[in-house]
Every structure is written in C-alpha cells, then in structure tokens.
Symmetry: C2
Subunit: 240 residues, 2 copies
DNA sequence: GCGGATTTGTACGTATGTATT
DNA sequence: TAATACATACGTACAAATCCG
C-alpha cells in the first residue's frame, strides 16, 4: 500500500474509533511527519483525503479539526454500490435478478445509455428487497467487451465486486442524474408500492473506468418513501 | 491570484472555448511547466482540480484526456447557489421574499438546524419563480452572529454573494440530504403546483465556513417535475 | 498592540516508480 | 527496448493565519 494510504487509514481508524471526537484537533502535520517518518508532502496527501471525504476540516494556522458526520446516511454519492451500502449498514436485504440477457445497442438506447450504436451489452434487471419489501428496481447495461461473463449469481451478489476484484478493472468516476418521474407498468409489476404513490425516484448514471472508457449505464428506481440521498460537498473542491 | 489558480483557469477556459474537445489530450505536465514557468507540482495542482471538477481524466502513462460533460445540468452539488445557477444558465427567474425575521433557536429548531439552542438567527422564506411559475420554496436560517445585517434586497439578489463579497466570509462545505416528502399547507399556499402533485422534493442542507463554523441551515422544496439533480462523482476521491 | 512560536498553504527542485506507446 | 507521461516521495523555503505571552 502507498505511504499516504497507510497514513490515511491509520488516522481514519482513530477517528472512527472515537480517539478524536468532533471538534478535537488532530496532531499537527509535523508531528505526523515524525510519527510516520515520512515527508510532510505525504502527510498532507493523507490529510487532504480525509478532508475531501468529510472527516476533517483543515483550518489555516490552527490545525485539522475532526467534523461530526451524521451517521447512518445513505451515500449514493461517491459511487458507493448497493452491495457495499448493504454491508456497511447491515440492511436486511435481498437482491432478485428479474432478467439477464445480452442485446445490441440501438440508436435510441445509444442516446439513453451513452454507448456506441451496435455495441453488445448485458441488460440485467434486478429488484432490491429491504425489510421484506421490494422498493428498488435497477436496470443495468454493461459493456460485453469489458465484462465478458455475467451470471445471475454475480448479479445477486455484487457486480462491482466482480468487476474490481475478479476482472481487476478500476472503476473511476460517474455522472448521475436524479429526478422524480411517474410510475410505469414495470414498477407496478415488480415493486411493492404504496396505494397513494404515483411517482418514483429515478437515478440514472453512467460509470467510467480509469481510462475514461464507459462500461455501465444504470437506471435505479426507488420508492419515494425509501429514498434518501446524502451528500457532503466542498465549495472550492478539496483545495488539493 | 495563486499560481495554480491562474493555470487552472487558463486551461479551463481553453476547454470551455472548445480549444480541446472531448477525447483530446491536453499538453503534458512538462509542457505546461515550460509554458507557465512553474514547477511540476504547481501544474499538477491545477490538473487535479480540473479532474475533481470533472473536466478531465488523467490517465497514467498517457496524459490528461478532456471529458465530455453533459451541458445545461442543474448542479445542486458542489454548493453552487441558486443565484449562480440562474446566472450561469440564464433562467427567466424571479425571487420573492415571503418573510424575513429574527428568531431564537428553540430546542426543536436546534435539532433540525444544527444551531445551538438560544442562538439568534435570521429566518427568511423565499419562493423562486421560473418561467412564470413559483416552483421552489426556500426556508433559510442564518446565524445573526456572523451575518449581522440582512435585508429583503439581499434576499432578492443573492445571500451567498453578500456573505462572500461584502462580509468576506469563506463558505467552505456543506452536508445535504435529499428526500421526497408529502406536500404541506405552506407549499400549497405559496407554490404553483400541479393538480396531481402530492409530493415535493426536499433538500435540507447545513453550510459551514472555512473555520468549520455553521452559519446556515436551509430547506429548499422543489416541485417534483422541476427538480433535477446532477452529480459528478469520483470513486477514490480525487487521488490528490 | 506587538512579536515570536506554531501551524497550515504555496512553490520549487530532485529522484525514482510505473503505465503506455 | 527506449522514450514519454503520470504517480509517489523526499526535502527546502517562505507566506499567511492563528495563538499566546
């Protein structure tokens, strides 16, 4: 592991363990230099990561203050996958693979997904059951060229885990749009809805690898009362 | 202006002008070192900023590729204020100040807003009219201690501009939650709603200064059909 | 209010590692 | 293999904000 990653994780753990609480100041950069026997540059990389992730606020001339983060959030931001969320928060949750097939991208699908026309893609539809209610319906399109094999088992577990751990592809960034749209027939067929519902939350995202190649388009539809988006944002992005 | 900011803006402008299109590679770091007569460290800060803002993707061993960003998005993320959005996208838009008063934070309000009990705050309610329809209703709470004066005129223009330009306070980060909730009576009283609407999008945010002091709590309620959240996110936050 | 100590921010330079072509 | 380009790491110097006596 890289030096700044080791330092990042060490400090993050000490925050998560409560060794430093909200409002406390971390040791100074120079103290960490001595502790880890690295250059200040390396310490600063770790601290800047902690800052962009919302753990601390660096204050010029004072030090690095630990922030209080509201717990038990649903961070759809930052590309966290459903499976990771489920594990992190221990939801009583089941994924059901409704369908799995390969199709060719049409002109309409090309506009929607961002994939080139005539590309071969996997199309997988899944529902997510939380507390014994089906409240999320995902439709994924994944590039066959990059993900040659896809099974129902992978779909029931975690596609992201498969892509990163098995295929060793590096998922890097995503564009995402969130809207509220009318229910459609597929929602009614596959989800457990409330009688007064006429809308659903739609999250469309295009996901890219480190080489800027798009490998996924997803629409994730959430029953409105089960949807919560939490975001931590900096105004002048993460100073560097 | 700082050296890396100058370089950032120069490169950003050349991208926005179309000098480099999607898929093109920027000059290498070393070429920028020569061009701007700075160290490579400084060039890298500028390029990393471009990367976190979604303008480019740096690819190890290859270079910095310009990404295609979908245009005309509504980036509520990144703390952009309503007024800035309006100016950027030229919406035909009017802000109406419904009420403006100072109140003392009660125990309930303390839990909601994150402010300490008994703090004095401004409470300002505003509606936003887009294309001649009132579709957004904002309720802001602002700390009197930090923002001593607030007028209807400032509320009609831009509170953020006032805070940053006039008071010279540095807005730094925010936590934000987005939900879909039932309409309430105030929504019905102050907004132009569609007959079939029974829900509204609620965005709650707590906003902090560079010294980690919270100065604002806002709930922004959007008519569902006028709500669009656009987000650009990196998986391993902005490498540094 | 001032000066000095501490702490973070910016900038420069150098060396080496790793991915791509 | 060699050249190029980005990534990591170390070190130094000075600027700017904060704190305290």
């Amino acid at each position: 592991m890289k030096a700044y990653e080791v330092i990042y994780q060490t400090i993050e753990n000490s925050i998560l363990k409560g060794e430093y609480g909200p409002g406390d100041f971390l040791p100074s950069e120079n103290q960490y230099v001595k502790q880890f026997k690295v250059s200040r540059d390396t310490v600063r990389k770790a601290l800047n990561l902690l800052m962009t992730n919302g753990h601390i606020q660096k204050i010029h001339g004072k030090g690095s203050m630990v922030l209080k983060r509201e717990q038990l959030r649903f961070p759809i931001s930052g590309l966290t996958s459903y499976k990771e969320l489920q594990q992190a928060y221990g939801y009583d949750s089941i994924t059901d693979v409704v369908s799995l097939e390969t199709i060719k991208i049409s002109e309409d699908l090309s506009r929607l997904t961002g994939f080139e026309k005539d590309e071969d893609v996997w199309k997988i539809i899944r529902t997510r059951e939380i507390d014994h209610q089906k409240v999320i319906r995902d439709t994924d399109y994944l590039l066959c060229r990059l993900i040659p094999n896809l099974t129902r088992e992978i779909g029931e577990d975690s596609i992201y885990k498969y892509i990163e751990k098995e295929l060793n592809l590096q998922i890097s960034f995503a564009e995402k749009e969130i809207r509220v749209v009318p229910l459609n027939q597929l929602d009614k067929d596959h989800l457990d809805l409330n009688s007064q519902d006429n809308n659903i939350v739609s999250i469309q995202s295009r996901v890219f690898l480190a080489n800027a190649e798009q490998f996924q388009y997803t629409e994730s539809r959430h029953r409105v009362d089960k949807f919560l988006f939490y975001d931590f944002a900096r105004r002048n992005p993460s100073t560097i």
